[in-house]
């Protein structure tokens, strides 16, 4: 998630004033920056970090949802979930390719994920405990991701902006699919309704934390805004998300777990209660309930797949040698 992608981002850069001014003029003119264009090192570094974390989030995000593929309660839901998880993997691949245009390889980024050097969205460090979590993730988590990502379609870096256009179309579909799943539960049996209310209770606060710290506490944002990597502040996006989500919850007859949530006529939006930032920082810093399990699962897949990747390379090399010998 992009605002978290900027946490700890180092936008410092050492180019000459004149170079930076020329670059800024291009940004201000809404020109897209392309891979072969000159760019400040801080701009490149910030994007590598953000796109890499975004890609990792998609890949790690396959795990909590994948947890329910084998137990999906109908064949229609099973097929939809498989397709969704596959989409997330596809976003990951797409984003790794976008990051590679900035001179970093997928292998390097994977290494950073597995060693814990690179982060991914804190939301995926929570467990999926019931089938309703699959609906709630689509509705809230993908919904929050869309709020973040729609502005990224206009990000100054061309390959990232273009990748986001496709990603957003698919995320928007996922969000509606998730909401439709929640509808089936909210309007279903009392047990199903309780299941989706419980999932909402668990995912609400982590979802609104996805937008990152309050603007007053958000470092590095100014530079990212100036470079048009980021277009709206964390609080602006969070507000938009809450305002859009409250009526959706009301329609389902579900209660958002925030007693302070109320309409503020003056600002034309909802006020919300205090966010537990100690939980946010704890999870961001690797103490989320599923943090170890997620990385362990990715590392296991990577390590146990090593012989397959080695075999593919060895076979390709044999083919090449045979072709050379035949010529």
């Amino acid at each position: 998630m992009y605002s978290q992608g900027l946490i700890g981002a180092d936008g410092r850069t050492t180019e000459s004033e004149e170079f930076l001014a020329r670059f800024q003029a291009r940004i201000d003119a809404e020109e897209k920056i392309e891979p072969t264009d000159a760019m400040p090192e801080g701009y490149r570094r910030t994007l590598v970090r953000q796109i890499g974390q975004h890609a990792h989030s998609e890949i790690v995000g396959m795990l909590p949802e994948g947890n329910w593929i084998t137990r999906a309660p109908s064949l229609r839901r099973k097929a939809a979930l498989l397709a969704k998880v596959q989409d997330e993997g596809g976003h990951g691949l797409y984003l790794y390719c976008a990051a590679e245009t900035l001179g970093v390889s997928r292998e390097e980024m994977t290494e950073e994920l597995l060693t814990g050097k690179a982060k991914y969205s804190s939301i995926f460090n929570y467990p999926t405990l019931s089938w309703a979590d699959i609906g709630i993730i689509g509705w809230l988590v993908d919904g929050a991701a869309i709020m973040n990502q729609i502005p990224l379609c206009r990000c100054s870096y061309g390959p990232y902006a273009r990748a986001m256009i496709r990603v957003c179309k698919e995320e928007s579909f996922h969000q509606r699919q998730g909401y439709e799943l929640c509808m089936s539960l909210a309007f279903g049996t009392p047990e199903q309704k309780a299941m989706v209310q419980d999932a909402l209770n668990r995912w609400w606060w982590p979802s609104i934390m996805m937008f990152g710290p309050h603007d007053a506490d958000s470092q590095h944002s100014d530079q990212s805004m100036a470079w048009k990597i980021k277009r709206f502040s964390n609080d602006e996006l969070r507000q938009k998300f809450i305002d859009a989500t409250v009526p959706q919850a009301e329609y389902l007859g579900l209660t958002l777990p925030d007693p302070d949530l109320k309409w503020n006529e003056e600002k034309g939006g909802y006020d919300h209660g205090p966010i537990d930032w100690s939980e946010f920082w704890r999870v961001v810093k690797g103490q989320g309930p599923m943090a170890r399990d997620r990385i362990k699962a990715r590392k296991k897949a990577w390590d146990e797949g090593a012989w397959v990747r080695e075999a593919a390379l060895a076979h390709a090399e044999k083919r090449r040698a045979r072709k050379m010998a035949a010529e």
């Binding site: 890949i59 593929i69 309660p73 064949l75 596959q86 049996t189 080695e310």
Partner: protein, 248 residues
């Protein structure tokens, strides 16, 4: 035995295989395979859904795809043994897929002239899917068979482990014979030449020996499964069965 039961057998093959393949999702050796596995799982689960639905219509007792898939136990499942074999490793998984697709490609091609409209429709779509499953799994069998020492050993182990389940593919149960007599499904025994050709070509490039099978294991069509299927169904059906009558 009735034609609809033969469609359930076929659907069970596809659903059980799809379940196994879906177990890889998020855990594959590389990202490209994390995308390919759910794709193949979606193909076969999609085929299973159409066949269950058609079987329910022909049965005429109002059972839909979920009633047939989620409310039968392991003794009532009729899939062949090959598809329920555990994933073990990537070599086993790819060989299982190749064996299944090599058989089903020939089967669906022959089913293009089925007397049943739905089966004909499935055959057109599934035949194309099986062609690319053969390509995808076949290429992996070749890469692994002619890759490193370790991959070649794992590939040989997979051949040793899975080849005893191949013969069952060519058997027709009483239900299948009824469907064959009605012109709904092709004769399973007639797929042998096409299957052998696909496997022979891949194995020769993969430097694998076609194994001599002393005794082909059978039993799936009469509900005599391995021990793994019960666990798979317990997992697959748990949520659905916990909420009888609920809609999802």
């Amino acid at each position: 035995m009735a034609v609809w039961e033969a469609l359930v057998e076929l659907a069970d093959d596809h659903l059980v295989l799809g379940h196994r393949v879906s177990e890889w999702c998020g855990h594959a050796p590389m990202l490209e395979e994390d995308l390919a596995m759910p794709n193949m799982a979606l193909d076969v689960i999609g085929t299973a859904r159409t066949l269950y639905t058609r079987a329910g219509e022909l049965e005429g007792k109002g059972r839909d795809e979920d009633a047939i898939a989620y409310l039968r136990n392991e003794r009532e499942y009729r899939n062949c043994l090959l598809v329920e074999r555990p994933n073990e490793d990537f070599a086993h998984t790819m060989l299982r897929q190749l064996y299944f697709a090599a058989f089903m490609k020939a089967f669906w091609d022959a089913a293009l002239s089925s007397a049943d409209d739905v089966v004909r429709g499935v055959a057109g779509k599934a035949g194309k899917e099986m062609a690319y499953h053969i390509r995808h799994a076949g290429e992996w069998v070749i890469r692994l068979g002619d890759g490193t020492e370790q991959s070649a050993r794992r590939m040989r182990d997979a051949v040793e482990a899975l080849s005893i389940y191949v013969d069952e593919l060519f058997d027709s149960s009483d239900a299948a014979q009824a469907a064959e007599a009605a012109g709904v499904l092709p004769k399973r025994s007639e797929m042998r030449a096409a299957f052998d050709k696909v496997i022979g070509d891949v194995f020769s490039e993969a430097l694998l020996e076609l194994p001599a099978v002393p005794y082909g294991q059978r039993g799936g069509r009469s509900g005599q499964h391995g021990e793994g299927l019960g666990h798979m169904l317990a997992e697959m059906q748990s949520l659905h069965r916990a909420h009888p009558g609920a809609a999802w």
